[in-house]
């Protein structure tokens, strides 16, 4: 069983980094990159060996209702691959980027703690354990948002921490009510017990969880903290937060709880669709008015989360395939765009689109990768974003939700509009810029190139033969709803 190692390795790395690091960050870099590479290998291995099976690891030798269990199925394997892939590129980007701040080794320790929390949330099969790992990830995230130690960063971190605490308290309340009505904390047992109870319980708890996890995933009425936190953090952390944190703590938890535990009641699918479409339209509209590059990208994250939620809400097999594929695609291109914003900020000292200009000569790699990422997020073929959005729109039309399909198309066009703005003013503007303050280092360049290549390569996952071994098992975990009970208990 390899699941425990996905939690132990980053936790141990965080501990060792604080022990052995002095003023220099060399050992911290070596340790964290080694840990992250082994984590990515393990995650890939677990994803490709799992297939349609479910493996359960029971901690410390006790049997399931008495112990905390870790559950490995296609969905958790898929999320683990995304988290650790983005984390590895983020570390490559961090090496020279983070040296502009004081005591960089603390950054690596907190980063490893963030990975521990996210891997834990994804791997666990126990609902209170999910809460604990979520708090570990959030605690590291608050500290990392404030890592730049400027006034705005403290302000954003405080706002984020207050919103995060409110949502965590609501989630704890929901867990308490679930325990009171089912007398168990193992997710599969909760799901089995809830089927024998009054559906009223499910609706009350689901409402509390909807607000709690809605705040975590920043869907539209709960989004206020995201543009501040994600634009103030250091660039590699912005990419971690926007690329994977809101998906691991928000979307993944929503899928597990609403689909696998509550069995996806139709009224909540309806709510997902409405919230998703509000997020798509309003966040795209707000992004259109931004001149701060990172703020624009943060609003864009809200609107792309809307696409994922819309796909989940439609609930047919095709729509969920689109949502799952969009989770992967959004992680790749949004992280890439935040790296671009980070390297521009480092080279020019600004992220205001009006002060940027033609960067083709000064920052060739950044400019070309940002072009790929922009086309990808705007949904132009042959890049990955095109396929996932197309699948979601086709699924909406197929299931007679014409209005939602139109909303998705309009959202897609608005996305194209604000990324045209980014390219027009930010990277291909009129004033030619030749002088840069600091060169973009090799690690930063390679992180951007890897993700830009993935933007194109990931499109092949949609080819039927490859889809059957990668995306289809993930979709089957979600679509089988409470089949999760049978998979975990009835072995």
């Amino acid at each position: 069983m390899i699941l425990p190692f996905l939690i132990i390795i980053p936790l141990l790395a965080a501990f060792l980094i604080t022990l052995i690091s002095g003023e220099k960050d060399n050992w911290a870099i070596v340790l964290s990159v080694l840990a992250e590479m082994s984590l990515l290998t393990l995650a890939l291995f677990s994803f490709f060996t799992t297939g349609y099976d479910t493996f359960v690891y029971e901690m410390s030798g006790w049997k399931i209702p008495l112990t905390i269990c870790l559950v490995q199925d296609a969905l958790s394997g898929f999320m683990l691959v995304i988290v650790n892939l983005i984390a590895l590129t983020s570390l490559m980007f961090s090496i020279s980027y983070i040296r502009q701040y004081s005591s960089p080794w603390k950054y690596y320790a907190l980063f490893m703690l963030l990975i521990t929390g996210m891997n834990g949330v994804i791997a666990t099969g126990d609902i209170f354990n999910l809460f604990v790992f979520m708090e570990i990830a959030l605690f590291a995230a608050y500290a990392l948002v404030a890592f730049g130690a400027k006034a705005e960063e403290y302000e954003a971190a405080f706002k984020y921490a207050v919103m995060g605490s409110i949502s965590s308290t609501l989630i704890l309340l929901g867990i308490g009510i679930l325990y009171a009505s089912t007398s168990t904390l193992t997710m599969a047992h909760i799901a089995a017990e809830l089927q024998t109870k009054d559906p009223q319980v499910t609706y009350w708890v689901a409402a509390v969880f909807l607000v709690g996890f809605g705040l975590k995933s920043a869907v539209m009425p709960f989004h206020a903290w995201l543009p501040d936190a994600h634009s103030s953090a250091p660039a590699p952390i912005s990419s971690m937060l926007s690329g994977v944190l809101i998906k691991a703590l928000g979307i993944y938890a929503i899928i597990r709880i609403f689909f696998n535990i509550f069995g996806a009641p139709p009224v909540f699918l309806m709510i997902f669709m409405v919230l998703g479409s509000i997020s798509i339209i309003v966040a795209s509209y707000l992004a259109l008015g931004q001149w701060d590059l990172k703020r624009l990208l943060a609003y864009s994250s809200i609107s792309q989360i809307g696409f994922i939620l819309l796909g989940l809400g439609i609930g047919t097999k095709l729509a969920i395939l689109g949502a799952v594929f969009h989770i992967l695609n959004h992680a790749i291109f949004k992280s890439l765009l935040f790296y671009n914003a980070g390297s521009v900020e480092m080279a020019l000292g600004t992220r205001d689109l009006r002060k940027m200009g033609n960067l083709r000569g000064a920052l060739p790699v950044t400019t070309s990768t940002s072009m790929i990422a922009s086309l990808s997020v705007a949904g132009l073929p042959p890049f990955n974003g095109f396929f996932s959005k197309l699948i979601i729109i086709i699924a909406a039309v197929q299931s007679q939700h014409i209005i939602y399909a139109i909303i998705a198309v309009i959202g897609s066009l608005l996305t194209l509009a604000y990324f045209m703005k980014v390219q027009r003013y930010g990277f291909h503007g009129e004033t030619v810029i030749n002088e840069i303050k600091k060169p973009v280092s090799l690690g930063m360049k390679s992180a951007m190139i890897i993700l830009a290549v993935l933007c194109v390569v990931v499109s092949i996952l949609i080819i039927p033969g490859i889809r059957e071994i990668t995306l289809d098992p993930v979709v089957s975990v979600i679509i089988s709803k409470t089949g999760y009970i049978q998979a975990v208990i009835g072995r």
């Binding site: 209170f128 809460f131 604990v132 708090e135 605690f139 608050y142 500290a143 404030a146 130690a149 400027k150 006034a151 705005e152 403290y154 302000e155 954003a156 971190a157 405080f158 921490a161 207050v162 995060g164 605490s165 409110i166 965590s168 308290t169 704890l172 309340l173 308490g176 009510i177 325990y179 009171a180 007398s183 904390l185 543009p227 501040d228 634009s231 103030s232 008015g289 931004q290 701060d292 703020r295």
Partner: protein, 112 residues
């Protein structure tokens, strides 16, 4: 029943404070109240009228004991809350150093 209602009122007091107060420290205290209300509610879910400690007795099983699991959960949750509160207090000290005020309406350089 009345204890649950009181507990929920305490929760609402906390959420009201967190959403409406303008002082950083009062916001942190309101978050604390919210957390305590939830902790208290989870303890109440496990409470049994006249129940005893959850300790093994000599002859067989102690049938009339309160559920010990929520108490373990609450210990964990209190520790987490301690960490978050410490983080919030540290952030508010830094905010005071930068902005020279605790008033949240004056701490707004981020907008839009």
């Amino acid at each position: 029943m009345i204890v649950y209602i009181l507990c929920f009122t305490l929760f609402l007091v906390g959420i009201y404070g967190a959403l409406t107060k303008r002082d950083l420290i009062k916001i942190i205290l309101s978050l604390g109240i919210m957390g305590y209300a939830v902790n208290l509610m989870i303890i109440l879910f496990a409470y049994k009228e006249g129940g005893s400690f959850a300790i093994l007795v000599k002859d067989g099983i102690n049938s009339n004991m309160v559920d010990p699991l929520p108490q373990a959960l609450i210990l964990t949750s209190i520790v987490i809350e301690l960490g978050i509160t410490a983080m919030l207090v540290a952030l508010s000290i830094r905010l005071f150093q930068k902005y020279k005020t605790f008033d949240i309406t004056k701490i707004r350089r981020l907008s839009g």
